[in-house]
Amino acid sequence: MPIRFKINDVAVEAKPGEGLLDVARRNGFSIPSLCHLESVPAIGACRICLVEVRRGRRSKLTTSCNYEVLDGIEVSTDSPEIRRHRAMNLELLLARAPSSEAIRKLAAQYGVSQPRFGPIKYNPLPNCILCELCVRACTELGHHALTTVGRGDRKRIGLPFNKPADTCVGCGACASVCPTHCIPMTDTLTKRAIWGQKHDFVRCSECGAPVITKKHRDHAIATKGLPEDYYDVCQSCKQIATSQRFAAIVW
């Protein structure tokens, strides 16, 4: 039985257990958010995806990412009140991540250009907004190489036991998902440096370009079953090879 409810007076359908934000996005409603991906558990960290949900006579503000849809609810994705609280939360986040382009842009949409708060005092990873997407992605991928440390005003993103984790494969997903691009990762031809360790790259047998870290390759072979020679050649060289095969077929 599908769940039927309304977003901004438009009737929508969803499967039981789906998150409100996912359903809204699928139906073309844009709700801003900084900490949500469908593929990781929703935790409602950034508080930007606030919406108003009316259920019977009761109405309340809630984040939509971690709201499981229910029959008959009436959702409103915008109102002066919603905008006011989104703006304040964005102001808090902008003060935390002043050099993040994504947050600056979003904050500007809500009329916030300069936060009224100074730099955050405890700030071991500049521009990190503690959305935990990195931790959740790493956990979802089964690596468990990142975690949150501490709580409250001393909460931070860190490594288990404060030392580089053996289980880190250097895939870089943490850096990819970070909405403020605050996780330092540097690649050279031979190595990727991330979270205090250096991972050796598999080098392309044709051109020598880095393909994937060796540990990531080993992990993928073990879990995804692709043969080892899949990882020998880089994307560009594979594409050239493909074009040559096409040519051979055509001419």
């Binding site: 501490g150 288990p160 036991f161 984790a165 289980t167």
Partner: protein, 159 residues
């Protein structure tokens, strides 16, 4: 800091054996017991606990750092805990922490260089009627004042 004594893995195993293997439910209880054994949580003990309970290192470390009860560094011979509950606060607990900090030159949570004293705070031990309260090595001292503190901490070596 005095050289950290090497941790005997057998001591860790003995504590682990008191808890069901592979059950994360036991995690916080187990950490308490490990800390009771070593007075803090040595890294080796945490790593062994993680594999014993079958939880990722990250989860164990997250838990160990989230809860205020757990200490990841060796603590002093004596532990002075100032209650900073509301009742103690309005009766002057901040003066106690300030005083010990100043006298022993350690911040809250810190340990003197000679490993004699660690200063900690706790959010209420439920003896609010007797505030402000100092707990020295588990013993409660009620109605404290900076002047009384000096007497209570008299035997502890500075430095």
């Amino acid at each position: 800091m005095t050289a950290a004594k090497t941790i005997d893995p057998k001591r860790i195993d003995r504590v682990l054996a008191r808890h069901p293997q592979g059950k994360p439910t036991a995690l916080v209880n187990l950490l308490h017991d490990l800390q009771a054994e070593f007075r803090y949580l040595p890294e080796l003990a945490m790593e062994k606990a993680a594999s014993y309970l079958n939880v990722p290192n990250g989860q164990l470390f997250r838990v160990a750092t989230f809860y205020e009860s757990f200490h990841l560094k060796p603590r002093g011979k004596h532990i002075a805990t100032v209650c900073t509950g509301t009742a103690c606060h309005v009766r002057g607990a901040p003066k106690l922490t300030d005083h010990i900090s100043r006298e022993f030159e350690i911040p809250v949570g810190g340990t003197t260089k000679n490993m004699e004293l660690t200063l900690e705070t706790v959010n209420c031990v439920g003896a609010c009627a007797l505030g402000p309260l100092l707990i020295l090595d588990g013993e409660y001292h009620g109605n404290m004042s900076p002047a009384k503190l000096d007497r209570t901490l008299k035997t502890i070596k500075r430095g």
